[in-house]
């Protein structure tokens, strides 16, 4: 570890404080009831899968700590992020209960003993082999991609949720994920200014490598496949417009790293992410 990501805790503090204000109406959300007859079965399965996935933060946070090494401030972010995703787990479980369903003990057991660490390690190292990109930088790139994929996932399901109140909650979760995406973007940009030229030059290529045959975190836990709740379930909701938006958003974002550090600084002055675009995509 030879360069810092963040030089101070300012951005972390801002994200943490803002995060504490999320879901002030959680008690009301937990009392909500939905019209199950309006909600497609695959939507319910999606909510079940994501409730479990968000419950899987122990695996994911451990993975982040492995990737971030001695970067203390990114370790702090991993802790903050884990808390916020666990809050999503509570919200999503509340949605399931509002639909008359619950997570079953075998599902929890399968997730909690999951085989994420070894699988994810192998996936990331295979993608990183022969490049100048550090594991830490790679993890941040993957984080940007994964969080925006989550935005797309929740937004696309909200379109077909059937019950308008359910759709509104799912869109709120999507906005939270956009927040997480933004933090990964800011962290990557901060770190990129300090890494060696060769590593900086490798960021665009690493995005391309990770984009090709991209695997989501739940792909590394066997339980999701066993219960037919893996990535195939998520992407079946992705209309061509959502797939297009995912590809264009990520391409436009990572393109900033193609022109060198000065170009990145100039480009970062404006926020690329526009969650309202997703509203326009809603069918």
């Amino acid at each position: 570890m030879n360069v810092p990501s963040w030089s101070d805790t300012g951005t972390l503090d801002d994200f943490f404080v803002a995060g504490r204000k999320m879901w002030p109406d959680l008690a009301e959300v937990r009392r909500m009831r939905f019209d199950r007859s309006l909600v497609p079965d695959d939507v319910v399965r999606f909510i079940r899968s994501t409730a479990l996935n968000e419950h899987g933060i122990v695996h994911y946070v451990k993975g982040y700590f492995r990737s971030y090494g001695e970067d203390y401030k990114l370790g702090l972010w991993a802790s903050i992020w884990g808390g916020e995703e666990y809050l999503h787990s509570i919200v999503l479980r509340a949605l399931l209960e509002g639909l008359g369903e619950r997570i079953n003990p075998p599902e929890y057991a399968g997730l909690e003993k999951g085989d994420y660490a070894e699988n994810m390690e192998r996936y990331l190292e295979t993608k990183r082999a022969g490049t100048a990109v550090s594991r830490r930088t790679q993890q941040l790139i993957y984080g940007v991609m994964q969080e925006y994929a989550a935005v797309i996932a929740y937004s696309s399901v909200a379109d077909v949720a059937g019950d308008p109140a359910l759709a509104r909650i799912l869109r709120r979760v999507a906005k939270d994920e956009m927040r997480h995406c933004r933090f990964f973007q800011l962290s990557l940009e901060a770190l990129a200014q300090n890494v060696a030229d060769e590593e900086f030059a490798g960021i665009w290529d690493m995005f391309r490598v990770l984009f090709k045959d991209h695997e989501m975190p739940q792909d590394q836990i066997a339980m999701f496949q066993e219960f037919d709740m893996a990535t195939d379930l998520y992407i079946k909701f992705w209309t061509p417009k959502y797939r297009s938006n995912l590809m264009l958003f990520l391409t436009h974002y990572f393109r900033k790293f193609r022109g060198g550090r000065a170009a990145l600084q100039a480009a970062s002055a404006t926020v690329e992410a526009d969650p309202d675009v997703l509203t326009a995509l809603a069918s």
Partner: protein, 103 residues
């Protein structure tokens, strides 16, 4: 990748010629003739998701245009000819696509 060309509009034929040269390595095609206007990126040219990323870069950096983030890429740019038309339209308008954040 090509250098940005001037914003003055090129003819469709010139855009096609330049685009074909740029797309050849992206789509692993030896002859520009394979990249005829009616060739479909996915069905005929086996363009995968990564190829689409590279095509976006080729279009934007090669011709100085910007694709909208709400563009339905897979529906509006199915063929080489669709890409030519989009580039021609935007170069002729002399501005990037509407409603896109600056990169």
């Amino acid at each position: 990748m090509q250098q940005n060309v001037a914003q003055a509009a090129l003819s469709r034929e010139e855009i096609l010629r330049q685009l074909q040269e740029t797309l050849k390595p992206i789509l692993n095609v030896e002859s520009a003739a394979t990249l005829r206007p009616e060739a479909r990126f996915r069905e005929d040219l086996q363009g995968d998701s990564l190829a689409m990323v590279d095509i976006v870069i080729a279009v934007e950096e090669g011709f100085g245009v910007k694709l909208r983030s709400d563009l339905d890429f897979f529906d509006e740019i199915r063929t080489v000819g669709d890409a030519v038309e989009l580039i021609h339209r935007q170069m002729g308008q002399g501005r990037p696509a509407a409603a896109a954040a600056e990169s």
